[in-house]
């Protein structure tokens, strides 16, 4: 059955309509967990300083794809990846690439807020310290403040910098994680369902934040909420059963999708 599906998908291989020079360019990405194939020849380009959202039913491979972009799948022993992912024209799976350096250029925000069990300050200062970018104490304070301001958290917690990051509320923790990610000035921020553990008010704040951040960063967001995809992203990619079904401007995907499956999904009849 897998074989027949596989064939089907290969013949349906989708190419997106995209600007000539995307920041992230993925060609024929296949991902296997052991014998099980999780992604089938995904070709997707992601534009600079835009929000691209990945939607699709659970288990469709959107998170797997997202994790390919900063090589987080490397830590899973059974996971193997073929194909080519280029960022700034550079193949990130090239053996000469330093994964640590790569990840310092690509921030990631997870589904569940995961601040370190350290103070708020240390959480934000972690990245710059780790990469030895900032040594002076005053510079570090400035950097922490700047990151927290950009994450919209400064006014709420400027008096609580020494409290553990885990003592904040869920929404604040997630924004702290965003502040931690942007403290190392990444080019790209990957977000894996960043609002799924949050209440609507915290979600609204994060969405607002994403909207502001896109002026400076390229953002790829995985989301289960189609409204969220519609609200925050400029482009949307729909995944189903491990393959990319359709990608395009968010407006087009939601108003007039080309593919039947996409239409069924975005109108809520399916998935």
């Amino acid at each position: 059955m897998v074989d027949s599906m596989n064939k089907n998908i290969e013949t349906n291989g989708v190419r997106s309509s995209i600007s000539d020079n995307p920041l992230i360019d993925c060609q024929d990405v296949d991902v296997y967990y052991g014998d099980k194939q999780a992604l089938y020849s995904v070709c997707l380009g992601i534009n600079e300083k835009e929000v691209t959202s990945l939607i699709g039913p659970s288990g469709c491979g959107k998170s797997t794809f997202l994790r390919c972009l900063n090589r987080m799948n490397d830590v899973i022993d059974t996971c193997s990846i073929t194909g080519c992912i280029k960022i700034n024209g550079e193949d990130i799976y090239d053996p000469n690439i330093d994964v640590v350096e790569l990840r310092s250029r690509i921030g990631m925000v997870f589904q569940k807020p995961n601040p370190f069990p350290k103070s708020v300050f240390d959480n934000v200062a972690y990245g710059p310290r780790l990469h030895g970018r900032i040594i002076e104490k005053a510079d570090m304070s400035n950097k922490v403040e700047e990151s927290l301001v950009r994450a919209g958290l400064w006014d709420e917690i400027k008096d609580r910098l020494n409290e553990p990051g885990t003592s904040l509320s869920g929404g604040q923790q997630q924004r702290l994680c965003i502040a931690r990610a942007i403290a190392v000035d990444p080019q790209i921020i990957l977000m894996d369902e960043p609002c799924s553990a949050l209440d609507p008010i915290a979600t609204a704040k994060i969405e607002e934040l994403i909207d502001e951040l896109k002026a400076k960063y390229t953002i790829v967001i995985v989301t289960h909420s189609m409204q969220q995809a519609a609200r925050v992203s400029q482009r949307t990619a729909f995944f189903h059963l491990g393959s990319l079904i359709e990608v395009g401007d968010t407006e087009n995907i939601f108003r007039s999708p080309e593919n039947e499956q996409t239409e069924a999904y975005v109108t809520g009849r399916y998935g």
Binding site: N70, M72, F110, N114, P117, G127, L130, C177, V184
Partner: protein, 413 residues
């Protein structure tokens, strides 16, 4: 309400109550047993903490003593017979001097060496009775027994009663027990040698097994590829944890002493043997606590660009530290109470001196308990219980340290 649902609810509530009762009952039983053990030990050890002795006049002002060649034994004997023994013959004199501890000569030597001015003075010195005399004052004696079946003859009993009537007998807290090494004479035998031996042994065990155990656990957990080899190693580590401790003693004898030629009876070898025993415990505990760290922390650190090693030492290890320490200390506490493997590597030897280094001959506390329990002198019964109490006390201290360290390093999530 539906009748069957109501019945079910009642049944469930009853089951819950019954289960709670079982739990409380077993807890209560466990506590009772603990109380019985500790209190019977304490009760039986009480005699070991006191000694009867006699304030003896030592007259040195008349004698002209050669400083470099003092016969302390003779000095004691001469002064003992200033007491009223009423002895005419040699046999009687021997019997009389046997009432006093043979350790008295060593104590006199110590005080004269500490304070040489005493050599020209008359002074009073507290000298201990021998164990039989000591037991007479503590428990009395059954005079209905025929004389030749008693430890003390009628004559000795009358001497001891005379001392008591003359008010010469004094009961003192037995500091000997805490400051001396082992001895054939129960009244001067102490646990310090065994305690020091045990502490040296445990120190060696800690130094060897903690770094090796923690590092191998970290490697297996975070770096090693999952394949047949690591599976095999894992199974074997778990097996090692279940191997009877005496087997490690045999291994230590063959490997450390016979092959590597390390000294017999030394805490160094004891520590090595006990590390073999403690290693699997530490490895298993460390792996379990590393696994218990939420994976989200690892992901967060990796995504921030931390290398695998930075993830381990900046995040996983600190978060797992309380669990690692608990596991280590439980392993060490087990090693601390272990006697069987130490018997095989010669730490069962009769050692009088307090060991000064890890290569000196020594015994360990549990072995000391075994040695004393095996001794024929009745006074060692109380000593055995007292040594056991010391062992339990030290174990409580170690476990308390575990609790405190765990509290201290506990991270808040």
């Amino acid at each position: 309400m539906n009748k069957t649902i109501r019945q079910l609810t009642l049944k469930r509530q009853f089951a819950e109550k019954r289960f709670k009762f079982y739990g409380q009952a077993s807890l209560f039983l466990a506590l009772i047993m603990l109380v019985v053990i500790i209190s019977s030990m304490t009760y039986r050890s009480i005699p070991a903490f006191t000694n009867y002795g006699l304030n003896l006049n030592i007259n040195l002002s008349q004698n002209n003593i050669d400083k470099d060649n003092i016969n302390y034994r003779r000095l004691i004997r001469e002064n003992i017979f200033l007491l009223d023994s009423g002895c005419e013959d040699r046999k009687c004199r021997r019997e009389f001097s046997r009432l006093f501890s043979s350790g008295a000569a060593y104590e006199l030597k110590d005080s004269l060496e500490n304070d040489p001015s005493l050599l020209k003075k008359d002074f009073r010195k507290f000298i201990l009775f021998s164990d039989d005399a000591d037991l007479f004052y503590k428990f009395g004696i059954d005079k209905n027994l025929p004389e030749n079946e008693r430890r003390l003859s009628d004559r000795e009993i009358s001497w001891l009663s005379d001392f008591q009537e003359a008010g010469l007998v004094e009961k003192r807290f037995s500091t000997n027990f805490f400051t001396n090494g082992d001895s054939r004479e129960p009244e001067i035998a102490g646990v310090l040698g065994a305690v020091v031996g045990s502490l040296y042994t445990i120190l060696i065990t800690l130094i060897i097994s903690f770094p090796i155990g923690v590092l191998s656990a970290i490697y297996l957990e975070s770096f090693a590829k999952k394949n047949r080899l690591t599976d095999f190693i894992e199974v074997n580590i778990n097996n090692l944890a279940a191997v009877p401790s005496i087997v490690f003693g045999l291994l230590g004898l063959a490997l450390f002493i016979n092959f590597f030629g390390m000294p017999r009876s030394a805490p160094l070898v004891g520590g090595c043997v006990l590390s073999l025993m403690t290693l699997p415990v530490i490895i298993i505990a460390t792996r379990a606590s590393l696994q218990a760290v939420p994976p989200s922390i690892r992901e967060a650190a990796l995504a921030m660009g931390a290398s695998e090693m930075q993830v381990v030492f900046q995040h996983l290890f600190p978060a797992a530290l309380p669990g690692i320490l608990t596991g280590t200390i439980i392993g060490l506490a087990r090693a601390f109470g272990e006697s069987a493997p130490l018997l095989l590597i010669g730490m069962v030897a009769f050692v009088v001196d307090i060991p000064g280094s890890v290569t000196d001959p020594a015994t360990a506390l549990p072995v000391q308990v075994y040695l004393w329990a095996d001794s024929p002198e009745r006074a060692f019964v109380a000593k055995t219980s007292a040594a056991t109490l010391v062992l339990i006390f030290l174990l409580i201290v170690i476990n308390l340290a575990a609790v405190i360290l765990r509290k201290k390093y506990q991270l808040k999530w």
